[in-house]
Structure formats: structure tokens, C-alpha cells
Symmetry: C2
DNA sequence: CCAAAAGTGTTCACGCTACACCCATGC
DNA sequence: GCATGGGTGTAGCGTGAACACTTTTGG
């Protein structure tokens, strides 16, 4: 071995898992079943194994608690304070995931003592997990303006109003319905479907679907998704 | 130890070091003096030690090759492909630094077989260092629009034209002089000095200094640095 | 017909863009 | 006085913000 005089470290991944219930942005956390801090609320995490890279480790951890694969998952950054985990020197790589909360298998909640919390009702989290969450939130707020990642949090069919509710939840402020609608439809990335959602009005609201192929096409031609001015 | 059944890993930091010579954005790289890939061009890097966090390790590495402290340094992300370093499993945390190239101690170039390269004249880099560089460039391009980090690459006194040259170098495109000047001065973060720089014209161009105190003040009051529309 | 939610139109102000123009200075 | 780069003025266009307005439907 070439680097035998160098130190080695435990490496963990911790996942900030976001979901959207139609009104609020929510976070999936669980109660640790091992020491230290057994019983305290924690982000879903796990240790990196020799044969895998960090993205693979994060996907493995996410699949375990959510039952989901092919989920939007993005690396945040490394958290390395010397005493962040009192039990041992562990460097953690933060990730955040966006999942459609309706796809989530509720049976897993009991199995892992997990719970969805609204962001303003979160219990205290262990270690530096609140810091990881804050980084995830900042990243989500930034990315949602310039990448079409909001759709990851919605069902495949959704109304413009639901989409607006999502953006209002992410940015914690109200958004003008008329301008939001125009802004999004002007990008021509949403296909209007025949069906209407009549659960919240007599008139009914058209359902739309995000046309990812069209987005990829336009992106290749220099188009930039942008809803900075909503 | 609590996690004794878990794997451990070497952890490295690799620094993308940017400088600006007045016309071009440049990158400081060096020739490795140890195996593997001895003699190949590489980002400046080093291994994390037990008693320090990643930011400290990156600053240590940077101080060694540049002789500089208190340099702008920001974490990019983790690079963890299983075979990225053929000699051993090493997870690297990428960083990028912005330094005033005039402050740089040229004596260190020989000492470390280091060299400044223009971005379009870079030699091949080892491992995944080109990927780290690309991430650094994307980050720099994004950040320079919304944070006053460009000044880190300039002397404390500079003309508006020099500042514009820097932005043109970062974004690889020409920028309208009139609009750039107005945009920057409208933020009122630059103090105009008495002195003029007469090296490139008879008339002379006023020197300016970035007023960081004013920036901090305004930021606290909700002001957002923004040159997106240059 | 009415209430309520979905969806459209219209005006205004501001900021980016482009480019014409003026200014200061050394030779 | 004129060439050269530094610096200012300004008209036009596009877009976000605000809010009034029309549409649709079940009761």
C-alpha cells in the first residue's frame, strides 16, 4: 500500500428526505436504534462500504427507509468537525432526496420508528443534522428556481395550483396565481391532459404532466429552466 | 469503539487554485513528487489528519503551496469513485481557492514544480482532477454572480476596467463596458479613490476599493449582491 | 342565479441592452 | 488638435408585479 502512513476514517452518508403533502414541505426522520443517541431523532444515514461509492451508499440508505429506487438524490457536502459524533471520528457526506410522498410505503414508518415532520414542527436532531438540513433547504430553494426538480415532489399528474402550492411551501411565501401560471406555462414544458381535478372546485382544474423529453431536448439547445421571477 | 464493524477510508482534500493575471483566469497545478503518477500534473492535495477537520486540512495544503493564509476557500463536494486512485481507496473532498496572483510567492513555483496555466492550455490532470476542476469552474461562475468573491482575485485597488476584465475571463464572453460600470457602481459597494491608474491610457482610470464593511452591513439588512445581468 | 374556484387581460414600472455621445490627457 | 481609452446619456424593449376581470359549474 502506498499511503500506509496516513490516517483513515469512518465515512457516513446522511440523507435529508423531503416530501410534499399538498400543503407543506415535510421531512422524514427516524429514531436511532443504536448507540450513541439511541432513541433520538436523526436523519436517515449509514456507513460507506468498501466496494461502493457515496452515491451508491446514499441510494442504499434511502431505499432501506423509503422502499424507493430511482429517487432524486443529490450530494450536499462533507461535514467533518472532529467531535461531531462523540462516539468516534466520522466524516459524514450529506445528501438530500425529493420523493413523492404518496409513493412512500407507510408500513415502513413503524418498522423504522420514522415520521414525517413539517419543517416548523421538527424535533431536535442529533449531532450536526440540523446544519445538514439547513444546507439541504438552501440548496432546494436555489435549485428549484433553475432546475425542474419540483416535479419530483408531486404526483405525475398535477394541477397548476398544486404546483404553485409546492413553490409556496418551498419559499414560505405566497405567489401570485396569475403570474405563476403564465410563467410556468410559457416554458411549454407542461402537457395539459384531458382530465380535470374536481376535488376542490365545481369548475375543476386541468391536470398537467411534466414533459421531461421536451425539457431534455430544449436544454440541449440552450434552453434554461428558470422561475426566478415567481 | 462503537462502529468497529464498519470500513474506514483514506480521506484527501484537493484544491483547485484560481488566480487572475489581469487578462486570463489561471489555475495553479504541480507535478506530483510521489507515487503513483509521480511527475504528472495534479491539483494541490493532501490527506486529512486525525485531529483536524476538512477546512483545516484544505487551508494547510493551500498554505504549503502558496505561502498564503486567510485565503478564500470553499468546499465543492466529495469524489468517491471506487477506483479513482489506483493505488488505494481514497475519497477526496474538492475545494477551490481564489487568490490574488500578485501575492503569490513565485519562489514556491520551483520548490513544488508548480505552474500557473491558462484554462485553455492545461495539461492533462491525474485521476478525476479534471472533473473536480470543472465543478470548481461551474461553482465560481455561479457564485461570482451573487457573492462578491471576484475581489479575492484582484489587488485591493483596481479599476472598473480590471474588474470587468475579470468577469469577462470568468464567463468567457465580452461584457458591455457602460452597463457593467453602472451595474457595479449602483450597488455602492466600491469606494472611489483619489488615485488613478495611468498605465493604459492618458486620461487615467479611477482606482476603486471594495468596501467589505458596507457589504456586511447591507447584507444584514437584506441587501443581495447581484450581477446576474451583466 | 349565485357562490367559489379556475383562469385571462391589462397596466405600470423597472432594469437590461444597445449604442451614440462626451471627457480628459499626452503627444 | 487629435487620437485614445475612460466615462455618461438615453431610447426601446422585455418582464415581473399588481389587480381587475371573465369563465365554469353544482347547487
Amino acid at each position: 500500500m502506498t499511503y500506509t502512513d496516513k490516517d483513515t476514517f469512518y465515512l457516513a452518508v446522511d440523507c435529508v428526505i423531503f416530501g410534499f403533502d399538498g400543503a407543506q414541505l415535510k421531512l422524514l426522520v427516524y429514531q436511532r436504534d443504536f448507540m450513541p443517541e439511541q432513541g433520538s431523532w436523526s436523519l436517515m444515514g449509514g456507513f460507506l462500504k468498501k466496494g461502493e461509492n457515496l452515491d451508491q451508499a446514499a441510494n442504499r440508505v434511502l431505499a432501506r427507509i423509503s422502499g424507493l429506487k430511482d429517487v432524486y438524490l443529490e450530494q450536499l457536502s462533507a461535514f467533518s468537525e472532529v467531535n461531531r459524533d462523540p462516539a468516534a471520528r466520522v466524516i459524514s457526506i450529506g445528501y438530500y432526496a425529493l420523493i413523492n410522498i404518496a409513493d412512500y410505503d407507510k408500513k415502513l414508518l413503524d418498522q423504522y420508528s420514522a415520521r414525517w415532520f413539517a419543517l416548523d414542527q421538527l424535533p431536535p436532531l442529533i449531532f450536526d443534522h440540523t446544519e445538514i438540513l439547513e444546507k439541504a433547504l438552501r440548496r432546494l430553494k436555489r435549485k428549484a428556481k433553475t432546475q425542474p426538480i419540483g416535479f419530483e415532489l408531486l404526483p405525475t399528474q398535477f394541477t397548476i395550483i398544486q404546483l404553485r402550492n409546492l413553490y409556496e411551501a418551498i419559499y414560505q411565501r405566497s405567489v401570485d396565481p396569475a403570474n405563476f401560471r403564465r410563467k410556468f406555462l410559457s416554458m411549454k414544458l407542461l402537457d395539459r391532459l384531458e382530465a380535470k381535478d374536481k376535488t376542490s372546485s365545481r369548475k375543476g382544474a386541468y391536470l398537467y404532466a411534466f414533459n421531461r423529453e421536451k425539457y431534455e431536448d430544449l436544454s440541449a439547445k440552450g434552453f434554461a429552466f428558470d422561475v426566478t421571477g415567481i
